[in-house]
């Protein structure tokens, strides 16, 4: 017993060091297992509020850019209004608004804190549970896909950016219809990788990459980016595809969170696949 106490006294500095390291590293390496890391993020009210104060000060720097973006989107939407169409033949006019059922809802939000220089990046937005946001909702900007909601508090949410190694959602290449999984493998915030596409499929450089909508985060056909680089993967019959993101992740300000109204139905239906096997 006395030896044991002597041992602890002798190595107590190192033991405290070990315990603190274990706490820190344990939390860091379990960041993927969602519930345990809930504690360590900016959606907690105090830090979220501080980030929104800091954003209040800095948002004026990007105001003109944000305005232009909104204006462009407004024009696009205005062009789709019935008033901007001219009926060629009065008899064939078709009112079809009851034929569609709304499947996705968009909730606007502002990015108040973000990073892009890490291997796994997250950003914080100023909308939370009270605005109807919950985990695993897709987040897009007016230029393209930016991430998936990771954790929410009442007024803030943390979003897993598209620049995260295991972002893993499926996307297809327009033209060839081939689909693969999106990952962030290179350390370049302008590009992400599209993995799992067999290299016997012909793919053109410059073709658009869009969301497939299979996991219900995003509607089908949202733009992610363009095929930028295309090389056969060494030792595997697969393409190594680099996508240039259409939304520059270094300049994200205004985003929309996508609520999939039919998401639960999709999940329930796809959950049955496992039962069949």
């Amino acid at each position: 017993m006395r030896n044991l106490i002597a041992f602890f006294q002798r190595f107590r500095v190192f033991l405290v060091f070990l315990v603190l390291q274990l706490i820190a590293l344990g939390s860091f390496f379990s960041w993927m297992s969602y519930p345990r890391t809930k504690f360590f993020n900016t959606s907690s009210a105090v830090i979220g509020n501080m980030h929104s104060w800091s954003h209040e000060v800095t948002k004026y720097l990007t105001l003109s850019e944000a305005n232009e973006e909104l204006q462009r989107e407004l024009i696009e939407l205005r062009e789709e209004l019935p008033e901007s169409f001219l009926s060629i033949d009065a008899k064939t006019a078709l009112i079809n608004d009851t034929l569609y059922k709304q499947a996705y809802r968009y909730i606007p939000a502002t990015v108040i804190n973000s990073s892009h220089q890490h291997k796994n990046n997250y950003f914080t937005i100023d909308a939370g549970r009270l605005k109807g946001i919950s985990a695993k909702m897709g987040v897009v900007s007016s230029n393209g896909v930016v991430g998936i909601v990771y954790d929410v508090s009442d007024h803030f949410s943390v979003v897993k950016s598209i620049l995260t190694e295991n972002i893993n959602f499926s996307a297809y290449i327009e033209g060839s219809k081939a689909f693969g999984i999106v990952k962030y493998l290179e350390n370049d915030p302008r590009r992400i990788s599209l993995t799992g596409i067999s290299n016997d499929i012909a793919i053109k450089r410059g073709s658009l990459v869009k969301t497939r909508g299979s996991s219900g985060y995003f509607p089908q056909g949202l733009i992610i980016g363009k095929v930028d680089m295309l090389e056969p993967l060494e030792g595997k019959p697969l393409w190594d595809i680099q996508i240039r993101l259409s939304q520059d992740m270094r300049k994200v300000h205004h985003v929309f969170v996508i609520e999939n109204i039919l998401g639960e139905e999709l999940e329930r239906l796809q959950g049955k696949i496992k039962e069949l096997n």
């Binding site: 405290v16 060091f17 820190a24 590293l25 960041w31 993020n41 907690s44 501080m50 892009h116």
Partner: protein, 171 residues
């Protein structure tokens, strides 16, 4: 000696500066300056290693809260707190540290400050980026980020020393 309230104010200021300013600056090339190791460097000489590590842990966790890094900063900051006594011993002035007010460039001179701060920043950044990538095949990125960010961090350290910690004139 410097009072406890001053250290508490410094603690808060360093966290806010790191979380709201330096963590958000964009320098390209993956450069990510981290200024809070300076706070750990400048804690009083007579703190025991255990107290030092606990303060460093609190500092790191607070920065983690701001940056969504889940314990990465806490680990890196505990590691430099663990090595601080050894590093101080390594660069000890001839008469020891007793006659000095605090570990700053103003008190101990820039050659002492640069060697101690340089070594601490190197350990801190190397550990931080190694954990972030956690793959030896990414050694090039780890080294690149450590060296570029480390140089910028040191430059910011020196500026902070010049602006805020001038040598006190003897009364």
């Amino acid at each position: 000696m410097i009072g406890l309230p001053i250290h508490i104010i410094r603690f808060v200021l360093f966290i806010l500066a790191q979380g709201l300013i330096f963590g958000k600056l964009d320098f390209g090339f993956g450069i990510h300056p981290m200024i809070y190791p300076l706070f750990i460097l400048m804690l009083p000489f007579d703190l025991s290693a255990i107290v030092l590590m606990i303060i460093a842990f609190l500092m790191g966790i607070s920065v983690d809260f701001f940056m969504n890094t889940f314990g990465l900063h806490a680990s890196a900051s505990v590691i430099i707190a663990y090595f601080r006594p050894e590093i101080f011993k390594l660069f000890s002035p001839r008469d020891g540290y007793e006659s000095f007010r605090q570990p700053s460039a103003g008190d101990l001179g820039y050659s002492w400050f640069l060697s101690v701060a340089g070594l601490m920043v190197l350990i801190h950044h190397l550990w931080f980026f190694f954990l972030e990538y956690f793959k030896l095949s990414d050694w090039f990125y780890i080294l690149q980020k450590t060296l570029l960010s480390g140089l910028l961090t040191l430059l910011i350290f020196i500026l902070i020393q010049i602006i805020f910690f001038k040598k006190q004139k003897a009364l």
